[in-house]
């Protein structure tokens, strides 16, 4: 993840490492904390959004993650992994708790912050019927993703939606690459099985194995 130069009155060298920023933050350096937030909030927010399914929950999760980091920065041990992995770990716990409270009641938010952009945008190349079909299909895909068990959904979200490499996904979830491959395989199989109604394949992967 790349660092950005903070705007306004807070200037942080973008090559400053996470653990240096975290140490400064623990000593009360607000600029360092803000820089850490700006480095990680977007990927964490997207992860939370795709896992939890709505913006407000994703924002709450991101806020919780950074509150935890702010209140107890010493919990992060640089010897045990990256700060990104640590933050994803907190986010995963928060997502689990959120879903225990609100089990899949809310649909994945279709809107992005600015402009109400929907998934299947109208284009001149498509007839209204094609556009409607595309929109419906993607809605079903989205629904199917939300119904996956958490560990498979995490792998699908990171590797297919976020398009991270296996190595990056393994670092984020703090697990071996083999585990990511395995979860991805099972997740894909489950997805294909759930969406079988859309496809014309006579017999597909054994998702239930």
């Amino acid at each position: 993840m790349t660092a950005r130069v903070a705007s306004g009155d807070m200037k942080i060298d973008p090559i400053v490492t996470d653990d240096v920023l975290l140490r400064k933050s623990a000593r009360g350096d607000e600029a360092a904390f803000t820089e850490l937030y700006r480095r990680y909030q977007a990927p964490l927010f997207r992860f939370a959004l795709r896992m939890a399914g709505n913006r407000w929950a994703a924002e709450e999760i991101v806020q919780d993650v950074f509150m935890t980091l702010m209140r107890d920065p010493k919990k992060f041990d640089v010897e045990r992994g990256t700060l990104g992995g640590y933050l994803y770990g907190i986010a995963r716990n928060r997502i689990m708790k959120h879903q225990e409270r609100l089990p899949r009641e809310l649909p994945l938010d279709l809107e992005v912050e600015e402009g109400n952009a929907t998934l299947a945008k109208w284009s001149d190349e498509k007839t209204p019927a094609q556009w409607a079909e595309l929109k419906q299909r993607r809605e079903m895909v989205r629904h199917a993703v939300m119904q996956l068990p958490v560990e498979f959904r995490e792998a699908i979200v990171l590797c297919e939606l976020e398009e991270l490499s296996y190595e990056e996904a393994a670092a984020a979830l703090e697990c071996p690459i083999g585990t990511i491959r395995s979860r991805l395989h099972r997740g894909r199989a489950l997805l294909l099985a759930k969406l079988e109604i859309l496809r014309d394949v006579p017999k597909r992967v054994s998702a239930g194995r």
């Binding site: 009360g28 607000e30 977007a42 927010f45 938010d109 992005v112």
Partner: protein, 232 residues
């Protein structure tokens, strides 16, 4: 292992690795095997095609929220919380330092006051001792000495020392004026001491006593001493 078993096994392998042909890039042998299997197996070809369609949809869903990020409100809330947390810590630390400083200042003030008081007490004692030097003899105003009038102990009278070495200043006399005075030994009635401004017990006023008077150059008595030999 017959041909069918080989085929099934290859299908299972393809499901694991072949769906993600991009993901096995770099492993050209495995990729080539997967492509070969794809050409030979219509089921896996259909599966692969479906997966590609599904992947396109997933990527499109991902692209839809690809630039999504938490709103500015979250950052503002977090920064406010950060300020509160660290502000509180700083204030607590400042309060602790201030209270320690206050306690130290109070202790210092007490120590200085006590030292000054001790010094003043010592100075006062020294001064009162210095006043006692009159001529070659000493006069003291210390009440620690025994009563002048031993015949009437406990009377609230001006007391003069019975110590033969000490004179007691008469009321109204300034110490140090009688540096060239003369000691005059007189025998007088105790009641006559009243004329010198000393209080006298009336019961023993008629007693005759021996008195040493310190008389200044102008003939005025300045101090009085009752030698032991004078009896009462």
């Amino acid at each position: 292992m017959n041909e069918q078993e080989k085929q099934r096994m290859r299908c299972e392998e393809f499901e694991i690795a072949g769906l993600d042909l991009g993901g096995i890039a770099g492993n050209t042998a495995q990729e080539e095997e997967a492509r070969e299997h794809l050409r030979e197996c219509p089921r896996c070809a259909a599966l692969h095609e479906n997966w590609q369609l599904l992947r396109d949809d997933l990527r499109a869903i991902g692209a839809e929220t690809g630039n999504a990020e938490a709103s500015g409100r979250v950052e503002l809330r977090l920064r406010q919380e950060f300020r509160n947390q660290h502000g509180t810590t700083k204030m607590r630390r400042a309060a602790v330092i201030a209270s320690w400083a206050l306690a130290a200042a109070a202790l210092l003030a007490v120590a200085v006051t006590w030292t000054n008081w001790e010094q003043a007490k010592r100075n006062a004692f020294t001064k009162s001792s210095g006043v006692a030097a009159v001529d070659s003899q000493k006069v003291t105003q210390q009440a620690k000495s025994s009563a002048i009038d031993e015949t009437a102990p406990g009377d609230e009278t001006l007391l003069a020392s019975n110590d033969s070495e000490d004179f007691t200043l008469l009321p109204g006399d300034v110490p140090g004026m009688s540096e060239d005075g003369t000691v005059v030994q007189v025998r007088m009635q105790r009641g006559a001491l009243g004329a010198l401004g000393l209080a006298v017990n009336e019961e023993s006023a008629t007693d005759w006593i021996q008195v040493d008077l310190l008389v200044s150059e102008d003939g005025q008595p300045e101090a009085v001493r009752l030698p032991q030999t004078s009896g009462n």
